[in-house]
């Protein structure tokens, strides 16, 4: 008898919940974003303005984001925020839809150099969100005279005995190895790749290699002393430094002289997004001058929003957010791979990971 009651209770509970979730979807916006990449106040403001519930999900790397889209996410998220080199493959596989530019009144706020990006000619699919750089973060107490170079990671003589991590996203780690070997960060040459993969394998063999870590967690590892050198993003570095100045006083961010990554994260709408209308509203909301500035002020990343410039904090106008003229020369986009090149790269990378 008791069991019957519990059963009924649980079933009605379950039914209620399912019904509830289906109904609730009507007025929700599903945002799939990098971790620690959105000011909660912006979300609150947007929710209030459009009377909508924003559901946020996070990823730590682009492969993870793509996997989630393939695993059903394409019909479950309204906005995704991938980096430049993943945009072409999203477009090509039909995972994203064309933007309805008539719904984006603030589109003109986008800086000129972002209006026709190489990864999305004509900007038919993407609207820039933030841009930044990937550099080396290291412990200044361990390395008081650190060279401004990838050798801090790849040369066992420069760093003989302190744990370090490489980037979890293969293309960034490979790019770093390429740069160190003198082939440039954005190499796509087969021979260069092979050499870089070998370098990564040798590096992995070193006792002080601690693992492949994504950009944001790498900072946590550095802060906790698990590693002493790692790869991360300029804005995240500043963001955490602001949160915990004491710990981060002994951590520094640098762009190696051999060259490093510069990236643009963009907002896109998945092909089967449940609420594309609201997604457009969201994109337009972010493009607003003040919201754009608020976002950058929160994130410590450079804004692609020209109109936002007057509202930006001072820290956003100087390195590392705005790289120095010299560094700017050395920064490259991560190449967007497709076809055989992508397959080859995946094989090289999985070899590096699995050995």
């Amino acid at each position: 008898m008791k069991i019957n009651k519990t059963t009924t209770l649980a079933f009605s509970l379950g039914g209620l919940m399912l019904a509830g979730s289906i109904q609730a979807q009507e007025n929700k916006l599903y945002l799939f974003n990098w971790t620690e990449y959105m000011d909660p106040e912006i979300i609150e403001a947007f929710e209030e303005k459009y009377d909508v519930d924003v559901v946020q999900n996070y990823f730590n790397s682009l492969p993870e984001m793509l996997a989630k889209l393939n695993a059903g996410g394409v019909s479950q998220y309204d906005i995704i925020v991938p980096s430049n080199y993943y945009v072409p493959r999203l477009i090509e596989t039909g995972l994203v839809q064309k933007l309805d530019k008539s719904k984006l009144g603030n589109l003109d706020n986008v800086m000129e150099q972002f209006q026709d990006p190489s990864f999305d000619p004509g900007a038919d699919y993407s609207v820039p969100y933030q841009w930044g750089t990937t550099g080396i973060v290291y412990n200044t107490e361990t390395f008081p005279d650190a060279p401004k170079s990838w050798s801090l990671l790849f040369d066992p003589e420069v760093n003989p005995e302190h744990p370090f991590a490489m980037m979890g996203d293969g293309q960034v780690s490979m790019g770093g190895a390429c740069a160190y070997l003198g082939h440039g960060y954005d190499c796509i040459d087969m021979e260069a790749w092979r050499e870089a993969a070998q370098l990564l394998l040798d590096t992995k063999e070193r006792e002080t290699f601690s693992g492949f870590t994504d950009g944001t967690p790498a900072l946590q590892q550095l802060a906790r002393g698990v590693t002493h050198v790692g790869l991360s993003y300029n804005g995240d570095y500043l963001f955490f430094k602001d949160e915990d100045p004491e710990t981060f006083a002994s951590l520094d961010f640098m762009i190696p002289d051999e060259g490093a990554e510069m990236w643009v994260d963009s907002m896109l709408i998945p092909a089967e997004a449940p609420n594309p209308d609201m997604a457009h509203k969201f994109i337009d909301f972010i493009l607003d001058a003040e919201v754009g500035a608020q976002l950058s002020n929160y994130n410590y990343y450079a804004s692609p929003n020209a109109a936002a410039e007057p509202h930006l904090d001072a820290v956003l106008t100087e390195p590392p957010v705005q790289p120095s003229e010299d560094d700017m020369q050395r920064l490259r986009f991560t190449p967007s791979l497709e076809g055989d090149a992508l397959q080859t790269f995946q094989q090289l990378w999985s070899e590096v990971q699995s050995r």
């Binding site: 069991i3 519990t6 399912l18 620690e36 999900n57 059903g72 479950q76 946590q220 590892q221 906790r224």
Partner: protein, 265 residues
């Protein structure tokens, strides 16, 4: 003499093993009260990480999802598994090899294969029919799948342990088929049902891999949330959530102990 040395050695080894088993959990609980953001040094007692949890809506919803998932899946698995367990008992003299294979399949299948099979399958079904979008429903389905065998085996072994003439006595004493179920079978296997439910619940809460691969944007459970938090970078907040879950388990353990004590008395 030698025997006593052996016993003493074993006692020592026992305490050593217990330390091994509880040290990681103890450290999690201890550092959840740490005043500073450090895994290595304990700087003072503070509740700051628990306070940080309180306002976190995601954790609350993950907690709710965990409960809903565990309860719903356990209840469904209990109903279905109970039927199979009885069917296996009632027809144990028949050749049911295929059924045994089927029942053991979810148990022996590696989690990861289980999880990706479900994920790939649900994606395909959704593509074809628009049904079964990843979310709580798909998670419940997957959990029920791996819970059914455990329920069935527990119920089956309870039935096997019964005097088979009890079934005939019930018939003989004027119980109709429905009354036999209500007044005889269910009350008789009640202990088995309770432990099956408890085991299912534990299995559901313990699972990460299968949930991870079948979850949708709004159905993250606590383990998934913790996984995400670890992947994002270890933060002491995780210690606090983990400590709460450990506390819940400790309470469950004490409850189950007192319950079994009472049953023995």
């Amino acid at each position: 003499m030698r025997k006593r040395t052996l016993k003493r050695g074993l006692t020592g080894f026992w305490w050593l093993t217990l330390t091994f088993l509880y040290l990681p959990l103890a450290v999690v609980v201890l550092f959840s009260f740490n005043a500073s953001n450090s895994a290595a040094t304990f700087t003072g007692v503070s509740l700051r990480w628990y306070k940080a949890l309180l306002g976190n809506e995601q954790i609350l919803s993950a907690f709710g999802n965990t409960l809903i998932l565990a309860i719903c899946s356990s209840v469904i698995a209990l109903c279905i598994g109970c039927l199979i367990g009885y069917g296996m008992y009632r027809h144990r003299h028949r050749k049911l090899g295929w059924l045994i294979v089927l029942i053991y399949l979810p148990i022996v299948l590696p989690d990861i294969v289980f999880g990706i099979s479900e994920m790939a399958f649900f994606v395909q079904i959704h593509r074809l029919t628009g049904l079964l979008q990843p979310g709580l429903l798909t998670m419940i389905i997957s959990h029920v799948t791996f819970q059914i065998p455990f329920v069935a085996l527990i119920v089956y072994s309870r039935f096997v342990g019964l005097d088979p003439t009890l079934f005939e006595a019930a018939k003989d004493l004027y119980a109709t088929p429905v009354k036999r179920v209500v007044h005889f079978m269910l009350p008789t296997i009640k202990p088995a049902l309770i432990s099956a439910f408890f085991l299912s619940f534990t299995l559901s809460v313990d699972d990460f891999v299968i949930s991870f691969f079948t979850a949708g944007p709004e159905s993250a459970t606590l383990p998934i949330y913790i996984w995400g938090a670890i992947k994002k970078g270890v933060s002491p907040e995780i210690n606090a959530i983990a400590a709460l879950m450990i506390g819940a388990v400790a309470i469950a353990a004490i409850l189950s102990l007192t319950m079994s004590r009472r049953r023995q008395a």
